[in-house]
């Protein structure tokens, strides 16, 4: 228990630190939302100044930070100039969409990577392993952008898949079941793109971790007891190789946002990625900060999840933690 409380506290400190840094960098970066307006000769400089005052962009930095934090504690995250609405509801909707996409992709990627990696390790250096290594190397070599665009081209040419977005036009009129089906259809391509970009790294790590474990004394001892091969591979080998894989899983959850940004933008999936991109380009301060904070929460959440899973999966960590 102490172990987790400490981790949570560390996470809270991290969050505070990141928020300060983000605030600092965003505001110190030259320019703000209203710079574009200033270039427009039809808007007087007084209007610009008035707008700035209205949004309190002329107050000193610490004051703005404190106001922002206090509004955060009320559940608001500032105001988006570009969308002319509070940031928080914007973020939640987009974050939800991103999570839907990336969690599905992560789940599918791991579900494929585990058996493939185990098979690779079990047939190390022989034909199945070598062909899988070739395939993963090829996939790794293809840039994510090319992959996503390629899939998009396929969608356009074949007409089998929707070419972007999350829902079809007029989907509000469909029944909930039909709506779900609609979303699922739109998800297919982005998910495929994400899975293909995630898979090679995962397979390689699973292969490496399991191959390391296959030569340990306890695995040979288990084999000497006549335990059948598939039990050896999945119950004994995989469990022993779990630790580095669980850490990897935590990282991959943490990197969800940055991993999916490209795919979301190319495939017009309304997630955090496109929002963040537009906000940065438009100097929409609070949206940027909100988005970065979101991604930090993902990262911390991912690591925390990995810690929890490790604690649950490895009794040696439990013993060490309780001895602290």
């Amino acid at each position: 228990m102490r172990y987790f409380l400490r981790r949570l506290m560390e996470a809270a400190f991290l969050l505070i630190g990141v928020s300060i840094l983000t605030f600092l960098f965003s505001t110190l970066a030259p320019g703000n939302y209203f710079d574009e307006m200033r270039l427009n000769p039809q808007i007087s400089s007084e209007t610009v100044a008035a707008l700035r005052a209205q949004y309190q962009l002329d107050r000193p930095l610490p004051v703005r930070y404190v106001r922002w934090v206090s509004s955060l504690l009320h559940g608001e995250m500032g105001f988006s100039f570009a969308y002319n609405s509070p940031v928080a509801p914007l973020l939640w909707v987009r974050a939800r969409n991103t999570l839907l996409l990336t969690l599905t992709a992560t789940f599918i990627a791991w579900a494929l990577a585990l058996p493939l990696g185990v098979w690779s390790a079990a047939t190390l250096h022989r034909l199945p392993d070598r062909s899988l290594s070739w395939a993963t190397a090829a996939l790794l070599a293809i840039p994510d952008l090319v992959l996503a665009l390629g899939l998009l081209i396929l969608a356009v040419r074949s007409g089998w898949f929707p070419t972007g977005g999350m829902v079809s036009l007029g989907s509000e009129r469909l029944t909930p079941l039909q709506q779900t089906r609609d979303i699922a259809l739109h998800m297919e391509l982005p998910v495929v793109a994400l899975v293909l970009s995630l898979l090679p790294t995962l397979v390689r790590h699973v292969r490496g971790a399991v191959a390391d474990v296959l030569h340990t004394p306890f695995l040979r001892a288990a084999a000497s007891h006549g335990i059948p091969r598939h039990t050896l591979l999945y119950r004994y080998a995989l469990r022993a190789a779990a630790n580095p894989l669980i850490s990897l899983f935590g990282f991959s959850v943490g990197a969800l946002l940055s991993g999916s940004l490209l795919v979301e933008v190319v495939m017009s999936w309304p997630g955090l990625g496109p929002l963040l991109l537009e906000a940065i380009l438009a100097r929409d301060l609070y949206t940027v900060i909100g988005g970065v904070l979101c991604s930090t929460i993902f990262l911390i959440g991912g690591n925390f999840l990995a810690d929890v899973l490790l604690y649950w999966a490895d009794p040696r960590i439990r013993t060490a933690a309780s001895a602290q």
Partner: protein
């Protein structure tokens, strides 16, 4: 209410007496040759034509130091050699079936069920993140179909059989939470779980305290008496085999240097290596003590380099009694008395 284990090889006997030698041995190793190939491509000969028998109910002590091939022997019997090892020649006949040629399915049915292997280093031979009870249960489940309840019951019975205090607690623990002695007992419990006829134990007391060592050895005595087991005990310490093994097989450089009844070999060793080994111990097994802090008579040099294929006797370079002939040919095993054979030119060959 306790359940009796079903021991398929019992023959209806309950005694521990050795079978008359006319019966077929339980295990016959014939001319076994095993090589290892290093990543650099160098080949070393770990076992060079080893042959021996083990009869039912008999305990064979295999005495070997590093480089003698003893651990290779243990894993070779059940075809558990690592990828870079290969059996070049030879046969391992278990109840008439050649294990080296058998199908994998047949072999998996024999492993753990008819022949059990106890590995060195109990802390390494157990899976670190699976509970002990489950690890024993997996062995049972691999060979018998039992319900959850009876798996648990049998597991606790086995732990009690190997004298584990508080079997339930041990069954629910993980290997790193129990002591070295208890880990060794768990390995033994796994070995006897399905009622094997032969148990091969590789250095079963190596990392243990002396009192725990004695407890484990007594446990072996009790179990072999109770279940009429045949044992192969592999160790580098002759003192452990005195009083426990019926016969002794001394390995050197992948070959059998000497073999015979334990007391005879220990009391009057014939092979120069056996003699030198026994003399190098600070306290002699026959009770003769040396002057304290005197220099012990040692075997000069190091264990043989198995990559070099020697033409003659492997022990020749370190032997105090070597002759011209010793570097030219390998000596064959010659009988010096009833059941006692030596591979040395001093006795013919």
């Amino acid at each position: 209410m306790s359940r009796r284990f079903a021991w398929p090889n019992m023959d209806g006997r309950t005694g521990t007496g050795l079978l008359p030698p006319t019966m077929t041995p339980l295990l016959q190793v014939q001319d076994l040759h095993v090589t290892y190939t290093s990543s650099a491509g160098r080949v070393s000969l770990a076992l060079a034509g080893l042959s021996f028998d083990v009869h039912r109910g008999e305990t064979l002590g295999v005495l070997g130091e590093s480089g003698s091939g003893k651990s290779t022997l243990a894993v070779a019997l059940l075809r558990l050699l690592p990828e870079n090892a290969e059996v070049q020649k030879g046969a391992v006949l278990f109840e008439g079936l050649d294990l080296l040629q058998a199908e994998l399915r047949t072999l998996e049915r024999i492993r753990g069920r008819r022949i059990a292997l106890i590995f060195q280093e109990p802390s390494l031979a157990l899976h670190p993140t699976i509970r002990i009870g489950d690890q024993i249960g997996d062995v049972l489940a691999a060979h018998e179909s039992l319900t959850e309840g009876s798996l648990r019951q049998k597991t606790l019975q086995l732990l009690a059989e190997v004298s584990c205090a508080d079997p339930a607690r041990i069954a629910d623990s993980y290997p790193h939470q129990v002591s070295g002695g208890q880990q060794q007992r768990v390995l033994i419990a796994q070995a006897i779980a399905c009622g094997p006829s032969l148990i091969v134990a590789d250095e079963p007391t190596a990392s243990l305290d002396p009192t725990t060592q004695q407890e484990i050895l007594s446990l072996f005595r009790k179990l072999r008496r109770k279940f009429n087991l045949s044992l192969i005990l592999i160790t580098h310490n002759p003192a452990l085999l005195a009083g426990l093994a019926d016969r002794l097989l001394v390995l050197y450089g992948g070959r059998a240097a000497e073999s015979g009844p334990t007391e005879r070999v220990l009391a009057s060793p014939q092979h120069p290596y056996t003699r030198a080994l026994l003399q190098s111990m600070p306290r002699q097994l026959n009770g003769i003590t040396r002057r304290r802090q005197s220099r012990l008579p040692i075997i000069p040099g190091e264990a043989p380099n198995l990559e070099v294929l020697a033409n003659g006797c492997r022990f020749e370079t370190r032997c105090a009694e070597r002759m011209e002939l010793c570097s030219k040919r390998e000596p064959a095993a010659e009988s010096v008395s009833e059941g006692h054979t030596v591979a040395c030119f001093k006795y013919g060959g």
